[in-house]
Amino acid sequence: MSWSVVARKDFEDAARSKMLWAITALFVVFTAGTVYAFDRIMEQTATTALQTLTLPAGLVIPITALVVAYLAIAGERETGSIKLLLGLPHTRRDVMVGKLVGRAGTVVVATVVAFAVTTAVLVGLYGTVPLVEYLLLTLLTALFSAVFVGIAVGISAATATRSRAMAAAVGVFVVFQILWDYVPMGIYYLIEGSIPTGGPLPPWYFLAVILNPKNAYSTASALFLPESLTGSMAERVAGEVPFYLQDWFALGILIAWLVVPVALGYVRFERADLG
């Protein structure tokens, strides 16, 4: 398995460079800290506390994953180490898959460790943890981590230099974390000629919201957690709730975000001339 040699080396690199430890510590602080902080400021149960975990995850995972993975391939192209790597019996697909698995492994391990530490905090505060929900949320969050690593690896595969990869990664961060909130509103303004108010909104408005992987993630968590964005969406949708606003569709959106950027990046990388 040629890609696994690449993946292992990449993961070991992350461990060696202390990056793995740094992001694990960061995640622990954010997740355990959030659970603790929410407990201080409002009445919580173990389950509602679990729900609050999607907030720090949605905040800290995208930027970490982008930083961890945006140079995965572009960095090696710029320095020229890709020539030694591809001179070995690895195809470009092996390199792509290996990089994706190695870097996603790094972020996923940090996520899982952070969630495990958070369990201890939950048990300490509430004496119990809803185990099935907790494990499902961990899985979903691991998928969410992989999505942003995938986007970053896709960018990295499609760009030839560090600076371009960085520009694209920053662009992705700004679009998903900052600008996207204004996208549904902007479309609404273009169509309706006014700013959306508190009243019922057309279904596509909410589709535009959950097309952002961050929102797809928190929406999909409603598949096994009691309340989420979708809960409030259903009340605000004008008319019937269409299939694309069901919770499972958000999971589908998330999976599409994992597959499509990697595939597009691969197509460009596969055709590239590596000077």
Binding site: K9, K83, P89, R271, L274
Partner: protein, 311 residues
């Protein structure tokens, strides 16, 4: 089956043709020098062979496998030293070798490889971020030797090496060739190619301008030997009747003769001595590859660069 075979291989970058209609055959076990000035298209050709770049037209096979479609099979059986590569700064020399051994599914002993390329055990434990260019080059060559390849493709292998390193590089190429490994290497430093190659190809502006043995190239260019005789007094001599002497010039007390072949040396010396003058020195020189190279790549007359040989 040829080690390397290209058919009408062409690579364009926009309007620029980097490699034009290249037909090249490197036989198994052959040491093949790939020569040309910078920018002639050597590295592009090698990048095409290694599937780092894709041809605009034509095709290439390496060890009988298509360079694009079967690139993985090709890489399992070749060792490469590409142009403009770099190592992983954070890994040690030894880690590079074991990573390569893993990737090639080989069972080489890293210590033996280190010794072969002249890196010490202490060097091997250091991170390569602190390596000199020469050490980097040695380690990369060590990696190329992993898995006992059938073909080595080396792009400017001696760049960054000191004269000692260059001669070690040459020894390694020779010993690999003795084991039946074909070696294809590019260079713009001619003496290196001359010393180890069975055949050379000369590339100029994306096109192949000559393929031959070194001797063949010399002969094709009328490039026999030259001989300079230093005498105590210059006699009035005519060399037109001496067989094999094609030209004679006198400069002070030195007579410089162009010879069609080595067999002309003795008659020429006799001819001078018969004139009653005393010879104080004899120097002979072969026309160097440098001359040939200049002939092919500049399109003008050969600029002769002397290589002194003991007479």
């Amino acid at each position: 089956m040829a080690a390397i075979e290209t058919r009408s291989l062409t690579k364009r970058f926009g309007d620029v043709v980097a490699v034009r209609d290249l037909d090249l055959t490197v036989e198994e076990g052959e040491v093949y020098g790939f020569l040309g000035p910078n920018g002639a298209g050597k590295s592009t050709t090698i990048n095409l062979l290694l599937d780092f770049m894709r041809p605009s037209e034509g095709s290439a096979t390496v060890l009988g496998h298509d360079a694009q479609a079967e690139s993985r099979t090709v890489r399992e059986r070749i060792g490469i030293l590409p142009e403009g590569f770099s190592l992983y700064d954070r890994l040690t020399g030894r880690e590079h070798l074991s990573f390569t051994v893993d990737a090639k599914d080989a069972d080489d002993d890293p210590d033996a490889l280190l010794e072969q390329v002249g890196l010490s055990a202490e060097d091997a434990e250091r991170r390569v971020g602190g390596y000199s260019k020469g050490m980097t080059q040695r380690l990369a060559l060590g990696c190329a030797l992993v898995g006992d390849p059938d073909l080595l493709i080396l792009d400017e292998p001696s760049s960054g090496l000191d004269p000692n390193g260059v001669s070690e590089m040459r020894d390694i190429i020779r010993s690999q060739a003795d084991r039946g490994t074909a070696v294809f290497f590019s260079s713009h430093i001619l003496s290196q190619v001359e010393a180890v190659c069975d055949r050379v190809a000369i590339m100029q502006a994306g096109e192949l301008v000559a393929v031959d043995t070194i001797d063949g190239l010399r002969q094709a260019n009328g490039g026999g030997a030259r001989m300079t005789l230093t005498v105590d007094a210059v006699p009035d001599l005519d060399f037109t009747d001496v067989p094999g002497v094609t030209d004679a010039t006198v400069d002070g007390n030195r007579i410089t003769l162009s010879l069609a072949d080595d067999g002309a040396k003795a008659p020429a010396i006799n001819h001078v001595e018969n004139a009653g003058v005393r010879l104080t020195d004899i120097e002979t020189s072969e026309s160097s590859l440098e001359d040939l190279f200049t002939t092919y790549t500049s399109g003008s007359d050969a600029r002769r660069v002397e290589e002194e040989v003991d007479a």
